[in-house]
Amino acid sequence: MIGGAAGPLPGDNPGERLLNRTVRRYGVWLRSAAVLVCGVLGLVSADTGQTPVAVGLLTPAFLACAARLALLRRPRPLAVPWALDAAVVTLTGLSQPALGGAGADMMVEAIVGIAVITFQFEWATRPVPAAALAVTGLAACVLGDVLAAPGRTPEWKDVARIAVLVCLARAAYVIVRARVRAADRAAAAGAAARREADVAAARRASERDYLALLHDTACATLLTVSRGDSRDWSWLPPRARRDLDALSAAPGFETGSVDLAALLACVPEGDGRTKVLLRTDIRGPLTMPSGPGLAIFQGVREAVANVACHAGVREAALGAWTEGRAVVVELSDTGRGFHPESVPSTRRGISRSVIGRMHAVGGSATVVSSPGAGTLVRWRWDDRSWTPRTGDGPGARDVPHPHRERAVVRLMRRQVLHGAQLAVLLICLVSQFAISIRQLTHYQDLYRPAWAQTTAFVWLAAVLVIGATHLPRGRQLPPGVRWWTVASLLAVSATCTFTLPPQWLTGDPDWAFGLIGWHALFLLADVRIRLFTAFLAAHVGLSITVVLALASPTLDELAAAGIATVSTCGFQLSMRVLVGLFRDAAPAAGNAAARAEELRTRERIHEHLQRDHKERYRALTATTVPLLMGLGYESLSPRDEEVRLRCGVEAARMRRLFAEGDAVSDPLLNELRACIEVAERKGVAVGLAIRGRSGEVPVEIRRELIDPVAVVLGHTRSTARVTVVWTARAVRVSVVGADCADSLRTGAARDPKVSVVTTARGDSVWAEASWSSKRPEESNPA
């Protein structure tokens, strides 16, 4: 690789990098082949006298080509390949006088012509050395002419023709590169959008995990404290400390695997009144990835706690085993059971801790229960879904996506094809109107009849018009048009062959010989290569057959025809091969892009999860963490009513937080109900009334609106009234608590658009939070 060392990261612009690599490698091979074939043909047609000198000059040129091929694999400083390339054209030019004759002139012209074109590909990323090589080539060509026939003016028209071809080659590369860059950009934009989606999905999954954890730890503990119905609080400090540990641990970065059997052996059985005797049948070891392992463990822990609270029995059976490649865990009790469908959506133990958690890690959990028939909870995690990855992080399981790669590849192929067709169309236009038209007018007298050749020329121009009306807009030719046009090209080929005296065929007057192939190439670029090959074979075959049959050529005339064929039709075929090569290589570009994408996605997910975790923990440090600290290290007593009230408020806030994720039509009402439910469980009678048509309220505003309700309900002992009023301009959430504890304090809202007003009268406290959905200037025209 020549210019790759300082290039961008692997995977950036994969299409362009692949294009450059392909044209570079291919350019060297094409040129080497052309030098070899044309050189041998030149030697065949050479004057015998000087052959050893010519061989002495051409052999180093062949060797330089071979060295250059070897350098494709072993990069060297740029000067080395440049010197080799310059040597090839210079030696070829110098060999012209040694070979002598018209054949030598053609050979040099063909080799230099092809070499300076391929230099534009070999040195595609470095236009200056490429241009310098082109100039060297042209100079060698002129030098050859001058040395071969001193005193004669060099053939400037050939020099000009080669210069035009050099420019066309560069233009073709730039056109294709532009399309490939467009494909790269489109793929990168799509990838960025998908990356955001993947990151968002990972964050949601992590949020679910976090909420499940919060539900099982702090929320459960605080709710129990707020109800205050325990006599023996000795279980509380260790549990509060454990909750704190769980909340502060960063989520989602566990790697490696765990033994589920070992984890299940330490499922807490509860203490005192909530003790459950577990009869275990665990057939370990059950080694599995830690994510699903922990999900099952935490789910089992929650389910055991449920047995203690709801089943009315003190015993449960816990079994764990493998079934094929799956790990299965079952917890069953013979308690009073329940209707799984009748569990309200606000009761989150089953849905979030057991089922939601398993879904998040790609497993499943089912609950079978009916009143009186006990409950069976079954976790199942299938090993097939576990594909170990080199990286970590929850998002890693989301990539790669084969269909995404395929889409990238398709896009790349389409763009390359389109670019190649545009480039060939340009080559046709320039060749026909800058080179062929001169030949046509210059040799008018040779054609029999001349009008046939002129008609052929006009028809080829018409073919270009057909192409130009379709291709630039990205449309392909309709199949009917395409095949009729290809057939007409063969007719043009025959016309031009039979209206030119055979001795001139493939020579300078045969303007159509080198041109028709380009027209066919842009018509046939997107179909199988053998069709284009067949076309060229028919076209070239016809000319060669006519030459052989009617002109009875000499050996050196045949060699000259061969050189002409190689330098035009061979070159066209090579271009078609190049397009095919690149299209075949497109999946590699897609894979590189996908790998780069995966890496980036993983980095972003990691970064976001860390930040989210810090943010969530920071939110807890103001409220929940001090409470758990106090309870855990016994500076706060659950016997203190004030402490229990604070616990109730925090539990209600968490319940509201859990409700945020529910997909409901009126999230504000749903979250209010979550808070109300906590108060009702404590024995407060809460009335709820709503007026007006509900509207959209952003989640952070909902938090502010509902918080006073959580606080007042948490301090109310008997009854409360909660109302929501939607007016045209605002939403007003109000709570009136009768018989409130003195310690009640509602803070001001953090959001300036939410105003909180609190009025106290006797034991009653009335708090109202309102949010104006319109901006002040809209509602206040002043």
């Binding site: 009334a689 007026r691 007006g692 045209a728 009136v736 009025t759 009653s764």
Partner: protein, 218 residues
């Protein structure tokens, strides 16, 4: 009708428990209120002794059918003061009843606090605004609603929220009397829009006569 004259009532409700509750609340009134007839069909309001009752207390939901808006309209057209007393707690029903000419709209949850006063107010052609109705009027976005001042809307909503005129007065720094006058004014504004009805006209007339509202306000 003087302010301490006895009031007679016909209660149309198909639930016997409601009836006994209503009679119990009426018994606590310092001004005598007598339920002269009761039944689960509107017919009871059109036959003696229900026909001559001063006030009709009407449950909107009778037997299996939908809300009996048609019966309400007929009673209002006959000039009967009707207190709608309903399980329904949505503002659309409340506004419809008011537009048809009901004296007031009470939800069943408000019966204990407000039925006695609402009945007496209806008997005297005086406005009465229970909280549930106030909430409905305060949040109403209907095009045919009368224009309310910001303070009127505020008082309506806060009365709905707190169910305590003292709390509203305290928060707004006004007297309970002023709170009442805001509520009355809104009620009169509503009586003055929509479908014309004799009950509405007498409500407005009485309000102007008592100086509750200025003729210019309408």
């Amino acid at each position: 009708m003087s302010n301490d004259a006895p009031v007679t009532v016909v209660v149309i409700d198909d639930h016997p428990a409601i009836l006994s509750g209503v009679e119990m609340w009426y018994a606590t009134s310092s001004r005598p209120i007598t339920v002269v007839a009761a039944g689960g069909s509107v017919k009871d309001a059109w036959t003696e002794p229900g026909l001559s009752a001063d006030v009709v207390v009407l449950d909107l939901q009778l037997a299996e059918g939908g809300p009996v808006f048609g019966s309400l309209r007929k009673l209002v057209d006959a000039g009967r003061p009707v207190v709608v007393y309903s399980m329904r707690d949505d503002e659309k029903t409340a506004l419809t009843c008011l537009n048809l000419g009901a004296a007031t709209f009470l939800t069943k949850a408000e019966g204990r606090e407000h039925l006695v006063d609402a009945t007496l107010a209806a008997a005297d052609n005086l406005p009465y605004m229970p909280p549930a109705l106030a909430g409905a009027l305060g949040a109403s976005a209907r095009a045919d609603s009368p224009r309310l001042s910001a303070q009127e809307e505020n008082v309506l909503i806060e009365w709905f929220q707190s169910e305590s005129k003292e709390l509203v007065a305290q928060r707004l720094g006004i007297s309970v009397r002023t709170v009442n006058s805001y509520l009355d004014r809104v009620r009169i504004k509503y009586a003055n829009v929509g479908r014309p009805a004799r009950t509405k006209a007498s409500l407005v007339a009485r309000a102007v006569q008592d100086g509750l509202i200025d003729v210019d306000d309408l």
